[in-house]
Point group: C2
């Protein structure tokens, strides 16, 4: 038996046919065109699901359930998107709507939680506690406790990017100041890189950015590898922000594994090793076994696999 | 049937006979004299337990189990205090040691987690998720998820005082800089008050402290009530630190209830109302039901009741 996993993003709708081991057998995507009315988006989600299924050579009676990873605040029990501001949705009965096209059980999960569930299912080694932290446009995450997603009594938790890092610091997208996200997201790293370039117009990094015609999340990492002290300072300070955030999360939750995902995680050991070093000294826990901090491995597939795993978890209740 | 609850503190050993509803029937305490060898302390814990039992008119065969709330890192499974620096203990087999005197099941829990369990058992209204935050010498806490203590895979979690608040800020007792504890503990409040007095020697608060001959955690709250602007500034800034910490915890965990305990919680609504106001604006969650933030109510009894509840939880496995 199989699951259909739908990853609803601001840019693309991605759908995959996923087996019980979390392996994607076939997948496809279409643009979300998020300015449309949600009912059109949901129709495309259903259409693409049926297309992926047909192309895979399988049939609906082989599918146990449909899972959807979706941005925003989710009422999992009723399959309703209570609120999302990325793709504008306000009390959208998404599960019910999908079932108009596909007569199967449908389960919703917040997209970050779903990605955590996907990564955990494939690479979590069956541990009881697991935190997935994504460094992307924002800093998001998912928390797995006792093998299940923990997102609070109201489903709004696991917002690990919205812990304080700098009291009264930079404005955050959430309206507060000084959140981890305002310092450790790729958006923040780009701002930090741009600022360093402006302040050091003669640096190698300034020259590099000029040649490339843009600054992105990799700029400081690449120029640091070339030995530019300005880039090294930006990169190292950014990594320290991330490491501080990890210490805060671990001091509260002490998960057995904490996996770092998102675009910047492709930097691998350049990112991971200094974080581990920082953590070894700064973690509150000095006497018990320590959290295993690592780089996540599913990358772009985490959303589809996680949506399928959310469907599986939904059936299990 | 009853439980014996032992609250092992740096100053006193407190023991109570606790019924199945968490009511303390009889209790007593002796000084810990923490400089002694741990075996002498443990003997006093056992002796006091038997004394409390005898004085209560009950007998050992009416006792289901003994629970101990103990500072430090606890190996609950084996009943071992792995490490404590308050009362110096290093791999102390406390449960086994107590059983030399009292032939009953013995269960250990970290003292902050035990206090959380006690407060939750009596005033938690049976919610599934509950956070107890104590503002005292340090900032401690306990996390209850799905009705059970969550302290990480290693028992070292729930250190909610050791989240970042001010990146690179004041040194914390844990060795890191800028932890919530370094700003929101009563120790920190006393330092903030003392600093304000030094900077404003002509203030009402400076005069008040001089008359009293000392500064404590209540000084700024009391002088603020008298209208002193210097005291008001200290108090309000302190409350903002606490409120920021609460936002960070709630954004990650979204517990149904968060209760504030510790000495400063006796300030009641003066502390609670501005926190609630701050939280209403700054909580990430704007669309789902919100965490109920309140003042804890067990005060000094939370340790004994919680130790008894830890014994109950231990028997349930």
């Amino acid at each position: 038996m199989y699951y259909i996993g739908i990853d609803l993003g601001g840019t693309n709708i991605a759908v995959g046919l996923v087996d019980e081991n979390g392996k994607i057998l076939h997948s496809d995507s279409v643009p979300t065109l998020k300015e449309r009315h949600w009912s059109e988006i949901v129709k495309d989600m259903a259409d693409l699901s049926l297309k992926v299924l047909a192309e895979s050579g399988h049939t609906l009676d082989e599918i146990k359930a449909v899972g959807i990873g979706c941005p925003g605040s989710i009422d999992k029990k009723n399959g309703v998107v209570v609120y999302s501001n990325n793709i504008v949705m306000d009390h959208v009965p998404m599960a019910e709507e999908i079932r108009k096209y596909i007569d199967l059980p449908v389960f919703l999960e917040n997209d970050a939680n779903a990605a955590a569930l996907g990564e955990y299912a494939i690479y979590g080694e069956g541990v009881e506690s697991y935190v997935f932290m994504t460094l992307g446009t924002g800093v998001g995450g998912g928390i797995i406790l006792n093998g299940k997603v923990w997102s609070g009594f109201n489903g709004a938790g696991a917002e690990i990017g919205h812990q304080s890092l700098v009291f009264g610091g930079k404005p955050c997208t959430c309206g507060r100041r000084g959140c981890l996200e305002a310092y450790a997201s790729v958006t923040a790293l780009i701002a930090q890189t741009t600022e360093a370039i402006e302040q050091n117009p003669d640096s190698l990094m300034a020259q590099y950015a000029k040649e490339k015609g843009k600054v992105n999340g990799r700029t400081s990492f690449e120029c640091a590898k070339m030995g530019d002290p300005v880039a090294i300072a930006v990169r190292d300070r950014y990594i320290e922000y991330v490491a501080e955030g990890i210490c805060s999360i671990v001091n509260v939750l002490q998960p057995e594994i904490l996996a770092i995902g998102g675009g910047i995680s492709r930097e691998g050991d350049t990112l991971l090793n200094p974080i581990k070093e920082y953590f070894a000294t700064n973690d509150y826990n000095k006497h018990m076994k320590k959290t295993d901090i690592r780089i996540a491995r599913l990358f772009g597939d985490a959303g589809i696999v996680g949506a399928a795993k959310a469907a599986e978890a939904g059936l299990e209740g």
